[in-house]
Amino acid sequence: MIRFDKVSKIYSDDSVALDDVSLHVDSKEFVSIVGHSGAGKTTLIKMILAEEKPSKGRVLFESTDIHKLKSKKIPEYRRRIGTVFQDFRLIPNKTVFENIAFAMEAAGRTDEEIASDVPHVLELVDLGRKIWNFPHELSGGEKQRVAIARAIINQPDLIIADEPTGNLDPINTFEIVQILKKINDLGTTVILTTHNKGVIENIGRRVITMEKGKIIRDDKEGRYAI
């Protein structure tokens, strides 16, 4: 589903974010990427989201070369991917409902669909009571669940979670991981980056270890090896 083909990202001679990375992620996989800060995890993810262009090589989503997409086509492409970040990235002056509705509006869904799907997805992440609250009225775990709800609302093919548990306590971390696993069980590909050993062991799936812009390990069964 995702293929990195000898991808390098070079900012300058002594700042190489990705160094000749090749990688293949199959449909319905749950892949965790681990590594120190600056190992290239975030650059990798930005490439999938078409936020960064590779200096060399190409990145394919199914059969399309992401970085050959016309800029007009990029929003459409991004709607096929749901994103969850460490800092939640909710829109501060929109309510929980509006935050999720925004993703549906951007995708051109009808008002009827929005009215029926948003409460439904909030029930899934157990936030039905907070539908009219603003993000600053929610706890970290609740914000992250809103972000997940927004990520899955358009039934994407792929969920990207960039350190989704970085700002959360152990209980919320566990819950978020459970939700992501459930999403994966229902057939959505998940790519997750993390620093958290417990998370990796809890998931127990494929783990890619990165260091200095290179992939140094690729284990079928999850092990945190740094």
């Binding site: 929003p75 509006e105 051109g108």
Partner: protein
Amino acid sequence: MFWTTTRRIMKSGFVSFWRNGFVSLSSVLIITLTLFVLGGVMFAGAILDTSLTQIKNKVDVNVYFVPSADETDILALEKKLQALPEVASVDYVSRDQALQNFKSVHENDQITLQALDELGDNPLGAILNIKAKDPSQYEGIAKFLDSESGDQGTFIDKINYYQNKTAIDTLTKMIAGGTKIAFGITLALVIISILIIFNTIRLAIYIAREEISVMRLVGASNRFVRGPFIISGIMYGVVSALITLILFYPATFWVSKVTATFFSGFSLFAYYTSNMPAIMSVILGAGILLGAVSSYLAVRKYLRI
């Protein structure tokens, strides 16, 4: 689809205008200030214009004839004057008419009227009031009259152009200079305030830059991200224009009251109310344009990736 999107953009713009109350307020205040300056420029222009025309209209050359002058000679001179290309109009006041004017001016002055009666005969001569198309042409007309009076000798009593000349020249120069200075100052003011508006709105959108990046990540098209900001910008403009137009009511009323004696016959308030549609469209148009364009430019920066 198009209408759904447009409706959503509109709604989102209105909602964020309302929810970002403080940011909206500061933008509205800044734009109001600019529109006030713009309106002030328009009013200053109107005042200068009317004073100039008023002064120009007051300027004329009066030829006073001796009482014994023959009317046919005067009418002949009038014909000649009318034939001159510089002359806008020639107004003939006959002796009888002059007497009547004199009487009506001194209606309440019994002594003068009595003295006039004592004289028995009409002591006043006929007058030609000459208006030029342009104040600078009076000189030529006066010279022409001089040569005429040289030819025909005695029937012209006096020409009052030379008494007025210095006063007219000074006034013309003052107005021309004043207009230039006022134009320079207002141009500088308008440019400064436009820059401040751009900065204020850029700052307002800078606060929202994270929001913009989130919208893009969620897959919103550039139009869908930009739209609400432009709607908010237009709202800043509309609200500011309305505030400005309302504030101009008391402001122009006050100015008119204070300057009533100075600009006889010109009231800024009357000018404002009678030119309302024109002033309104300029102020409203400028407000909307400023709000929309500065929002567009400010968002554009965050839409490039």
